[in-house]
Amino acid sequence: MKIDKKIIVNALIALVVYAAVMGLVKGGVLSRQMMSLITPVCVYVMMSVSLSLVVGFLGELSLGHAAFMSIGAYTGCLFLIATKDILPVLVSLLLAVFIGGVAAALLGVIIGIPVLRLKGDYLAIVTLGFGEIIKSVFNSLKITGGAKGLSKIPLVATYKNFTFVFILMLLVILLVSHLVNSRHGRAVCAIRDNYIAAEAVGIPVSRYKILAFVIAAFMAGMAGVIYGANLGILKPANFDYNASIEILVMVVLGGMGSIKGSIIAAVILTLLPELLRGASDYRMLIYAIALIAMMLFNNSSFKRNLTEKRNLQQAEKLSKEV
């Protein structure tokens, strides 16, 4: 019965969040600026949850997550522009999101098959290089508008269409959390913890690595379409190395291997810079320091002592109960 309780609580939280945002939008409490942030928050939640699958659960570092987002964004938004007068808005958006996700997933397969056979360091560099390739291709293509960007995208995913965006975000979160708790998810975690042992017990390591990578790419592609349909314009420069790092910061600060943490970090880190506009010069600097400090803390003897103490206390409690 414990699991059921959890599901009910999470569903309640989702409902409350949805009602609160809808209430705030309908009540006219929010400023224009805050309203314009609603969709980006959802987009970044999707991005960080999907990257969390790769970094937190698979244990591989991908520095090209923004590139997958851009592939999805461009293909999906081109589709939106092409079908804007033919199909009803919701059908067109739904199809665009799907097409964007598939395009990103396809590229995930193409890049994943050769590279995931290699060790983590190489994956990081290749995904980074891959991001640069995608950026320069979008910069030189005519159909994407080059460096000036793709404009006149129908604005179909703004806060007015919050229900759709919210449901998509919930689906992404649900998919990842279910995957992680499933047999497949345990296989993915096993690969992270010790891939030799995982291989020895018969887990097809490469297949699971590619599976996780492609699912993450798919979700990033979907998030990209929403991103484009909210802004109305896409520029290759929006999806550079920095964008990938920002998502990585969300995952790391939220706690690697914690979906809840990624969601919370994504919400805070998307809202914070807008609320603290004065400190925008220092934002990236703070991110960098936070990354280093987090890693040093995670691996410090101080933290080891803390966890050991907690484990001891728990063990004592258990022995007393027995």
């Binding site: 891959f130 320069s136 030189s140 600097l285 990354l291 040093l296």
Partner: protein
């Protein structure tokens, strides 16, 4: 004749950029060989070098040679400090943690430069003023000559240092087997510090040559040559010092030919495709050793 000359000139350009990549790639490869980590911040050391040179020459009006010496010292010191503060506590940590820390350091350096020097590009005329010469109809710029001479000397010195000195022998021992080297009385911490210092000093030289070529200062100027140099290191076989030199030169020539004869915009994409192809066909690189993994 003119076509051959044009190609020769492109090859020379390629050699010039390639030798700069080779200098940077040496730093990656040395650090990887010893600390088994990719120092993402290595590219940004080039940027720090370029800015230090700018401060010394344009703001403090020092003699160029003195300025270059100061630049090399600053970068070497920075490399050691980064290692001590950020990487040393993580020696036993999983590779992912080290990688993220290195990205954090790279980001930190870029954003510090952004805060201090602002985002507007600063024009900075080359400090290398050597007239160009003509060899048999091929125009060779002074910068190319200086770059090739400086990189050749640096590489010879590095090879001598690694093969002939005690510290170099210690470096080779640590990269072969850290535990055994420690048991034989090699001071591992000191050796790692020396490696970072030498690698960063080479990056500083590369930074000086690089900024003489591009003449514009930007906080992100080190990122792209850094990544390309990493591609060069992988191409040559990461961990192998001759490999890094060879990989750098090959990459520089590929890039220069791609820029001239295919497309300027796509040249970066071509360089990264080289990386993907190398990893697919021969992950250990041209001169790297294939390691068999034991459980």
């Amino acid at each position: 004749m003119s076509l051959i000359n044009a190609i020769l000139e492109q090859l020379l350009n390629g050699l010039r950029t390639g030798s700069i990549y080779a200098l940077i790639a040496l730093g990656y490869t040395m650090v990887y060989g010893i600390a088994k980590m990719i120092n993402f911040a290595h590219g940004d050391i080039i940027m720090v070098g370029a800015y230090t040179l700018y401060v010394c020459v344009s703001l403090l009006h020092l003699h160029p040679i003195l300025a270059v010496v100061i630049t090399i010292l600053v970068c070497a010191l920075l490399g050691v400090v980064i290692e001590k503060i950020a990487y040393k506590p993580l020696r036993q940590a999983p590779p992912l943690a080290v990688l993220i820390t290195a990205i954090g350091v790279s980001y930190l350096l870029q954003n510090l430069a952004l805060l201090i020097f602002k985002a507007t590009p600063i024009p900075f005329a080359s400090i290398i003023k050597v007239p160009s010469i003509k060899i048999g109809g091929v125009h060779v710029s002074g910068l190319t000559i200086v770059t090739l001479i400086v990189t050749t000397i640096s590489m010879i010195l590095l090879t001598l240092f690694i093969n002939k000195t005690k510290a170099g022998r210690a470096m080779r021992a640590v990269s072969e087997d850290k535990g055994a080297a420690e048991l034989m009385g090699v001071n591992v911490n000191q050796t790692i510090s020396i490696t970072f210092a030498v690698g960063s000093a080479l990056a500083a030289v590369a930074g000086v040559l690089f900024i003489a070529q591009y003449e514009t200062l930007l906080p992100t100027l080190g990122a792209l040559p850094g990544i390309k140099a990493f591609v060069a290191a992988v191409l040559g076989g990461i961990g192998s010092i001759p490999g890094a030199m060879l990989g750098g030169l090959i990459l520089g020539i590929i890039e220069s030919l791609a820029k001239a004869y295919i497309s300027t915009q796509l040249s970066d994409a071509i360089v990264f495709s080289v990386l993907v192809i190398v990893l697919l066909v021969k992950p250990s690189g041209l001169l790297g050793k294939m390691k068999i993994e034991k459980v």
